[in-house]
């Protein structure tokens, strides 16, 4: 099995499994705190892969059920949009 230092959990921001485990063990047991400290989930994909993996790690280490762990907020836009495209859109007001 690969070393947890080599396993990347958040590919957008290069956050490894060992970093995530270190923070959980330090007492950061919400996805929001891990996001704020490591930026995991803040990149272009907005946590599509890492969000669930992080919640699973928190559940495993703390012994909590997955449904007891507070989710991070899903924020718009759903997919990255070019500023130039947004700037040209018609204003309905």
């Amino acid at each position: 099995m690969a070393d947890e230092k080599d396993i990347v959990i958040c590919r957008c921001e290069d956050v490894t499994l060992s970093k995530i485990r270190e923070l959980i063990e330090k007492g950061y047991t919400t996805p929001d705190e891990i996001k704020r400290i490591t930026r995991a989930g803040m990149g272009p994909c907005q946590g599509r892969t890492c969000r669930d993996l992080i919640i699973r790690e928190i559940a495993r280490i703390t012994g909590k059920k997955i449904e007891e762990i507070p989710m991070t907020t899903f924020r718009p836009p759903i997919r990255p949009i070019k500023l130039g495209v947004l700037a040209e859109s018609e204003d309905d007001e």
Partner: protein, 381 residues
């Protein structure tokens, strides 16, 4: 389980609360508790724009701004953690003659207080930010030591340093009442138990008014919803924070490479709501593309909103509340609480432990509102 007693209870786990708690412990106060109803940096601090500046329009804010920058410059070392500092300066852009006159007045005031800001030409502005479209601008000012610090990293660095000095931090712990004994603080009631204490510091940001109500003090602080967005990261192409009051925007590239930007709402909604709108996204994009047209291919990855904790004159409320012994306030920062946190955290700790502060802050006492001694800060987006 919560502790039963504390010398000082700090309410709020944003930059103010964490900086106050850290400075109290650093100055030797051994029994400090910090209460946070959610998690560290989950409120206004964690949602803010990461700017730090000394280019202000009132003497008080200039003094606080430059003193805070001086702390920021050594903060990574002091706290033992990276705080994401990048001093690319704030480039202020005026689009109206009257606005430029005000900026020039501000620079004069800043210079008189030792802040080395300056009025610069359009040519110099282009040298600082080569991608900038200066069309329509009538004047610029610049201060190199302004710039960026990461609000999340900074706040966690304060919280961790405070913990190492013995501060007990309780998250998911909400204050639901404060008990008095005569005119004195007696204890704090929370959803997880009771803590006896003689001193409470209200660092609850947009919720500071509610905390004041627990002791019968009417703090004129209200939340105002402000929106913000961030792009994908690219290589460093721009250093300064670009800011304009009449243009109504701020835009800065972060050390990480993403651009963070926002503008002030037209309808100043007094609400704790932090929803995002499509209108903001479009309007912000128009402002950005006009200012930095070469970057129009840049993609927005996320938008959110947060609360400014507004006071009537856009300056903070700092100090002890005279009718309740042991009740202190550090709130009402009106959109610049993060950048002032390092200095106000230090000043509040000094005030609580020694009764004096290294920068006089009496004029920021909340009584100024009933005395009508307001000096409105003109330099706010």
């Amino acid at each position: 389980m919560l502790v039963k007693t504390a010398d000082v209870v700090v309410i709020g786990g944003g930059i103010q609360g964490c900086a106050v708690a850290y400075n109290l412990a650093k100055m030797g106060c051994k029994d400090v508790v910090l209460l946070e109803k959610d998690t560290i940096a989950s409120g206004s601090t964690g949602r803010c724009a990461a700017g730090i500046r000394a280019q202000w329009g009132t003497e008080m804010n200039c003094r606080l701004g430059i003193a805070s920058i001086e702390i920021f410059e050594n903060l990574s070392e002091e706290l033992g953690a990276d705080i994401g500092l990048h001093q690319g300066g704030y480039l202020m852009i005026a689009y109206k003659e009257s606005e430029f006159e005000q900026l020039k007045k501000n620079v004069k005031l800043q210079n008189s207080l030792g802040i080395k800001s300056k009025v610069i030409s359009a040519q110099e502005a282009k040298e600082i930010c080569p991608l900038l479209n200066t069309e329509g601008a009538v004047g610029f000012t610049f201060h190199q030591r302004d710039g960026h610090a990461d609000p999340l990293l900074t706040t966690f660095a304060y919280a961790e340093a405070a913990s190492r000095l013995g501060v007990k931090i309780y998250d998911f712990t909400e204050v639901i009442g404060i008990d008095l004994e005569g005119d004195r603080i007696k204890g704090v009631r929370t959803n997880r138990g009771y803590i006896s204490t003689r001193v409470v510091v209200n660092c609850a940001g947009p919720y500071a008014k509610r905390i004041g109500e627990f002791v019968g003090v009417d703090l004129p602080i209200y939340p105002e919803r402000h929106e913000i967005l961030v792009t994908e990261p690219i290589e460093r192409v721009s250093h300064p924070m670009l800011m304009s009051f009449s243009g109504n925007f701020y835009i800065q590239q972060r050390p990480h490479g993403s651009f963070i930007m926002g503008y002030g709402p037209k309808e100043h909604e007094k609400t704790h709501a932090v929803n995002s709108t499509w209108m903001f996204l479009e309007e912000m994009a128009r402002k950005f593309v006009k200012l930095l047209p070469a970057l129009k291919e840049l993609r927005v990855v996320r938008q959110w909103a947060g609360s400014y904790e507004m006071s009537p004159d856009a300056q903070p409320i700092l100090g002890e509340v005279d009718e309740v012994e042991g009740f202190y306030v550090s709130a009402g920062f009106s959109g610049h609480g993060f950048m002032f946190g390092p200095i106000t955290g230090k000043l509040m700790a000094e005030l609580i432990l020694t009764g004096e502060t290294s920068i006089p802050i009496q004029m920021l006492n909340y009584r100024r509102f009933e005395r009508h001694e307001l000096i409105r800060e003109p330099a706010v987006v």
